[in-house]
Subunit: 626 residues, 2 copies
C-alpha cells in the first residue's frame, strides 16, 4: 500500500518518557506526527521541596541536546500532565496542597520549556479544586493550551458505586460540562475525548460534536482485526472518527501495539480520512466559513456589491430550480395552441445582475412560449450590470430594465408571473414579505408569484464554540449590554449538536388575499431535549416553494443538494441553559414591524426563563427604508 | 379612638371611575392616602379606531377640573390598567393585536396625564405577549412605575384544570418569577401582592419577602370581625402585614366595605404598624442602610477614620462582652490569693482609639486584679487618640501605647492575655488570622487569646433587590467583566428570602498550636431548597467566642441582641439560578493567600454550575501589606 500521505494528523501516546529523542525518531518511522508523553515519571515519588533537578533532570538533559538536533521538537510533543484528581479533592488539606504544588511545579516547567500543548485527564466526577488550580494557572499563563481528556466511560467504577444515587455522574459528558462551566468557557481549554469503551451509541457520540473537540484518543484495544490482519474500528466508531477527521481534528493512538505495526493504525486513519472526504458543493463552499459568524445582509437598505452578486450566481442549483419553476408556470399558463400568440409578462423584481432574467428567458425558450420581461432593481449600480447584459446577452429578447424600488414602481402593465429571490437564511429576513406584498399591486389577479411561499424553522442547539464566539465578539460602545447576544448571525454551523429537530416558525404566502396583510408574526414552539445538554442558542433555517413542488431548502431534513447560497442562522442567548433529557424547551419568536423597520425578538420560557432578546429591535433591525 | 396618624400609607381600590373628584374627596374622609382606580370603564367596549374622546372623555373632563382644585391629584391616584391577558395570549392574531392596541391606547393616555403609578394584574400563568408589550412600552417610556399585581392564589381555576399536569402553574410566585425574568429584572416593575385567599402559609408568605414588593392588596373579605365589631386579620396574615408595614410598603384595601366604615380598615393598619414598630438597636442602626451595598473595610491595608471608630464605639453590647471576657479570664488566671502580687500583662492588639483598653481596665477593676496593658496600633492617627486617652482617662493605670504593626512588633515581654477585635462580617475577612498568628509569638505558651475562635457561615438567599443592585452597580473600566459580581458586599439584608439555613464555612482558633499555620481554607456545603425559588447569592455571617461561652454572633439563629457593629455579607452570583423544592445547592468556598494578599473564591456546582468567582483575587482582595 503505497499512498501519498493525506493531511491527517495522528499522534502516539507514550506512557513514559524514557528518551525523548529516540521516541521522537521512532514516531517518524511509523508515520506519526507527534508524541503525547509525560515529562515526569508517574511512579517517581515527588515532593514539592525536592530539588527539581531530580524530577526534571532527565528530560532537561534530553531537551537540551534535542533542541540542537531538531529545533522543531516543540511541535512534536504534547505533554501529558501527571496529576491525581483524587488528591486534589481529598478531605485532607495536606494532600490537596501537595497535589497543587506538584501541578504548579510541572506547569512551571512546561511554561519554561515553551511546550504549547498539554493534556490533563478528567477521570472522576469531582474536580473543583483541580479545575480551579489549572484555571487560575492558565489565566496567568496563556502560553499553553490544555486538552481536557475525558473518557467516554468512567474509568474507575469503584468510586461511582458509592454515588449510585446519582447516575448522572456516570455520564462523562456532564463532567466536561461541569468543567467548562466552572472555568467559564476558557478559550485555552479544549476537549480531548478518550474512546475507552466499545459501547458506542451514535446518539451519544453526536453530542460530543457540540463541544470544542480538539482531539480523540483511541486505545489500541478498541480496534478490531480485519481478515487481512489490519486494525479497523466498528462501523459506528469508524463513522464518528470520519467526522472527526473531516473536521481536521487530531487523533492520538494510545496503548501497546496489538497489530503488526503502529504504522497500520496511522494508515487506517488515512484511509478513513480519504473515505470521509466529501466534495459536495456546500462543504466546499463552506470550507472557510465553518463556525464563522457573519451579520446577515440587508439587501433592501444596503446596496449589495458586485462581488456578492457574483457569489450568489455561482450557486449550481438555485437558478436551475428557478428556471424549472418559470418553465412549468409558463406551460401551465399558456396552452400549446396559444404558444405563438400569447405573450406572458414576467417581472423579475430585485433582479440584481440578472441571473433570474436569464433563467426566465431560458425557461421561455425551453417551454417554447413568448415572454416580455421586466427587470426591476433598486440598486443603481446593479442596474448598470443589467443594462450591459441586455445589450450583450438579451438583445434578441424583449427585456425592459427598470431602475426603481419595486414597492413604489408605477408599472405600465400587470405581470402574469412575478419572479423574485429576496430571501434570507431565515426566509423573511431580507424583507421579502414587505417588498412582494407592495409589488403585488401590479401582479394580475390570477398571476403567479415565484416563490409562492416560504417558511422559517427553528431548532435548539448546543455549541460551545458558537457561544464563546458570540460572547467574545466586540461590543460597540453605547450598545445595550446584551447587544452581541441580540443579533442573528449567519453561520455554517459545524461544531454543534442538535438538541431536537427543527419546527416551523413563520410562513408567508404570495400573493396575499389581503390587500394590506399584517407581516408581524408570533410563534411559540416546544421542543423536547433528547439528551442532557446545554442550550446555547436557536438555529434558524428556511425552505421555499417556487412553483408547485419545486422547492429550495436549507432545512437539514430536506436540504436541496448542492444549494450553497444560504448558511443557517443562529439566534444566540446570553446565558447557557442546562437541560436534562426530556426537558421541555419552550421558545417564543416574534416578527415585529413599525414604519421604518422589522425585527425579531426571541425568548426562552422553559425549562428556565430568559429575558426577551432584542426588545423593540434595540440591537438588531432590518430597515425598510432605502 | 382618637389617635395621631401614624406614617402608614393605605390606598383604596375602586372598581370603576365614576367621578374622580368625589372619589378623591371621600378618600380623605376615610383616612385613605390614595385611590387605585381605572380610567376606562371595564364594560366600555373599545376599539382602537374609536375616537379616544369616547373612551377617555369622562376622565379628561374630570381631570381638567381637578387639576385646578387639587393640583396634587396625581399623587392621589394609581391607575388600574384594564386589560385581559387572555386576549394577549389568544391564538387569534386579531384578538392579540386588539388587546395590544388597547393597552397602548391606555398607556399613552396615562403618560399624557403624567400618572406616576399604574397597576396591572397578572391573573394567569401565560402572559408572554402581554409582558413583552408592557416591557417594550416601559423601556421607551420611563414615566410610570408599574405594580405587577399577582394573586397569592390563582383566580381562575378553570384554566388551571386544563393544565393540571403542571401543578407548578398554580404557584403564582412562579408567574411573578417568569414575569421578572422575561422582562430582565426591569427596575420599573414592582410587585403588588393580592391576598385573595385565606390559606396563608407562613412559609410561602416569607418567600414573597425576597421580591421587590411594593404593595399588598387586601380584599375586605379576608378580614374577620372581632368581638367589638371591628375588622381584623388572622394571626399569620396580621404578622405578614406587620412585616410589610415595618418595611414602609403600601397597603391597598379592595372590595366593598363589610364593616361599619372603611375607616376601620385604615385604623387597623395603623394599629398593626404601631405594634410592629421595633426599637431594638440593630433595626435603629440599620434604618438608613437597608439593602444598601457597602464595600467591606480593610483596616489592615487602609487606616480607618476617626468617624469609623466612633461608629464602632457606639455598639451597646460588644464592649460589655469583651469586658466580661477579660474579667473572667483574669479571675481564672489569677487566684484571689495572688490578686495583690501578680500583675497580668494584657496586650490589646489593634487598639484603635482604645475602647478595648478601657474595657480591659474596667474588667481588672471589677475582678480586682492587677494589670499592665499594652495598646498596640498601626494607625498612627489613631495612636494620637490613644495617647490622649492615656493622659486623660488611663493616667492612674499602667498603659503603654505602642505605635507598631503587631505582626512585626518586637515586644519587651510576653502577654498573658491578648485582646483583639480584627473581625469582619465574614469573620476572618479583616485578616485577623494573619495578624494574630504573627502576634502570637509574644503570647505566653499558656496565654489566652480573646477571642479564641471565630467561624464564618454561608447561606443561599433569594433577593431580587440585592441582585439588581449588584447588577447595576458601576463597573470600573478595565475590570474583569464579572467584576461587580466578584465582590463581597456588606449589607443589611432586608428584602430577601432565606432559601435554606446557614452552614459553617471557615473556622480559625487562637492561639494556634502550629508555629506557621496555613490560613488558606476550602469548604464545600450542600443546602436543600425549601421551596421553588431563585438563587441570587450567598449570605455570609460569623460568630466568635471571646472567652469560654462568652460570644458575639451575627448568625441569624444566635444573633447577639443589640449587636450593631456588623451587618451580614453578600457574595453575589452573576446569573440567577432557578431552584425547585428539594433541589440540592452545592457551594464551594475558598480562602486563598499569597505573599501580599488574601482572597475568597466561590462557586456553585449544583443544581447548575456557575463559573468560579473572583479567580485568583482578580476583582477583590484583602491586602496584607500596609
Ligand atoms: C438576494 S438579491 C437577488 C439578486 C438576483 N435576483 C439573484 O438571484 O442573484 C435581491 C435583490 O433585490 C434587490 N431589491 C431588494 N429590495 C428591492 C426593492 N424594494 N426594489 C427593487 N429591488 C430590490 C436588491 O438590490 C438585490 O439586488
Ligand atoms: C476593627 S478595628 C477595632 C478597633 C478597636 N479595638 C475597637 O474595638 O473599636 C481594628 C484595629 O486594628 C488595627 N490593626 C489592624 N491590623 C493591625 C496590625 N497588623 N497591627 C496593628 N494594628 C492593626 C486597625 O488599624 C484598627 O484600628
Amino acid at each position: 500500500m503505497s499512498q501519498a500521505k493525506i493531511a491527517v494528523s495522528v499522534g502516539l501516546e507514550y506512557p513514559t518518557c524514557y528518551n525523548i529523542q529516540s521516541q521522537i525518531e521512532s514516531l517518524a518511522a511509523e508515520c506519526f506526527d507527534y508524541a503525547v508523553l509525560p515529562l515526569v515519571h508517574p511512579r517517581f515519588a515527588r515532593h514539592k521541596d525536592v530539588d527539581r533537578y531530580r524530577v526534571f533532570g532527565l528530560p532537561e538533559a534530553q531537551v537540551q541536546s534535542l533542541s540542537s538536533i531538531c529545533p522543531q521538537w516543540l511541535k512534536l510533543i504534547v505533554c501529558d500532565i501527571q496529576c491525581k484528581l483524587k488528591d486534589f479533592e481529598s478531605k485532607y488539606v495536606e494532600r490537596r496542597d501537595h497535589a497543587k504544588d506538584l501541578l504548579h511545579q510541572e506547569l512551571e516547567y512546561i511554561t519554561y520549556l515553551g511546550i504549547p500543548f498539554i493534556v490533563v485527564s478528567l477521570d472522576q466526577p469531582d474536580f473543583c479544586n483541580f479545575a480551579r488550580t489549572l484555571y487560575a494557572h492558565s489565566e496567568k499563563n496563556m502560553s499553553y493550551t490544555a486538552w481536557i481528556k475525558v473518557p467516554i466511560r468512567p474509568v474507575d467504577t469503584s468510586m461511582l458505586r458509592q454515588q449510585e444515587e446519582e447516575p448522572s455522574s456516570q455520564d462523562t459528558w456532564r463532567w466536561w460540562n461541569m468543567f467548562r462551566s466552572v472555568t467559564n468557557y476558557h478559550s485555552k481549554f479544549e476537549l480531548a475525548l478518550e474512546i475507552n469503551g466499545d459501547i458506542c451509541d451514535d446518539h451519544e457520540l453526536t453530542r460530543w460534536l457540540g463541544e470544542p473537540l480538539r482531539c480523540v484518543f483511541i486505545p489500541t484495544h478498541v480496534f478490531q482485526t480485519n481478515k487481512a490482519g489490519y486494525p479497523v474500528l466498528n462501523a459506528s466508531l469508524a463513522n464518528f472518527i470520519k467526522k472527526i477527521l473531516e473536521k481536521n481534528l487530531q487523533v492520538v493512538i494510545q496503548g501497546v501495539n496489538r497489530h503488526q505495526s503502529y504504522l497500520h493504525y496511522v494508515q487506517y486513519m488515512q484511509y478513513l480520512k480519504k473515505s470521509s472526504h466529501s466534495d459536495d458543493p456546500l462543504s466546499m463552499a463552506a470550507q472557510d466559513f465553518e463556525d464563522y459568524l457573519q451579520f446577515p445582509l440587508q439587501p433592501l437598505a444596503n446596496d449589495l456589491s458586485s462581488f456578492t452578486y457574483e457569489v450568489f450566481e455561482k450557486d449550481p442549483i438555485k437558478y436551475i430550480r428557478y428556471q424549472e419553476a418559470v418553465q412549468q408556470a409558463l406551460l401551465d399558463r399558456v396552452s400549446p395552441e396559444q404558444a405563438d400568440t400569447v405573450v406572458t409578462t414576467i417581472m423579475v423584481v430585485g433582479a440584481g445582475r440578472g441571473p433570474l432574467v436569464t433563467a426566465s428567458l431560458n425557461a421561455a425558450k425551453e417551454a417554447n412560449r413568448k415572454v416580455r420581461v421586466y427587470a426591476v432593481e433598486k440598486n443603481m449600480s446593479a442596474v448598470v450590470g443589467l443594462k450591459y447584459k441586455k445589450e450583450e446577452q438579451w438583445a434578441q429578447s424583449d427585456v425592459t430594465i427598470v431602475s426603481e424600488d419595486m414597492r413604489t414602481w408605477n408599472a405600465p402593465e400587470k405581470a402574469d408571473i412575478m419572479v423574485s429571490e429576496l430571501l434570507g437564511s431565515f426566509g423573511d429576513n431580507e424583507l421579502s414579505p414587505e417588498c412582494l406584498y407592495a409589488a403585488q399591486k401590479y401582479l394580475k389577479e390570477d398571476g403567479i408569484s415565484i416563490p409562492y411561499n416560504y417558511t422559517s424553522y427553528i431548532a435548539p442547539i448546543m455549541s460551545h464554540k458558537l457561544f464563546t464566539q458570540v460572547k467574545s465578539s466586540m461590543i460597540k460602545e453605547h450598545q445595550h449590554p446584551l447587544y452581541r447576544f441580540e443579533q442573528p448571525y449567519v453561520v455554517y454551523q459545524r461544531n454543534k449538536y442538535n438538541i431536537a429537530p427543527p419546527q416551523p416558525c413563520f410562513t408567508f404566502v404570495h400573493p396575499s388575499e389581503d390587500k394590506d396583510p399584517d407581516n408581524s408574526r408570533y410563534t411559540k414552539a416546544t421542543f423536547i431535549a433528547e439528551q442532557d445538554s446545554v442550550l446555547h442558542g436557536i438555529a434558524g433555517y428556511f425552505d421555499t416553494f417556487l412553483y408547485k413542488d419545486i422547492n429550495l431548502s436549507i432545512h437539514p431534513d430536506t436540504l436541496s443538494p448542492g444549494l450553497i447560497s444560504w448558511f443557517p442562522v443562529l439566534f444566540p442567548i446570553h446565558e447557557p441553559i442546562q437541560l436534562k433529557t426530556n426537558d421541555e424547551i419552550e421558545v417564543h419568536f416574534w416578527r415585529l414591524c413599525d414604519n421604518v423597520k422589522v425585527w425579531y425578538e426571541w425568548l426562552v420560557t422553559k425549562p428556565t426563563p430568559s429575558p426577551i432578546y432584542n426588545l423593540d429591535g434595540r440591537s438588531y433591525k432590518m430597515m425598510k427604508i432605502l
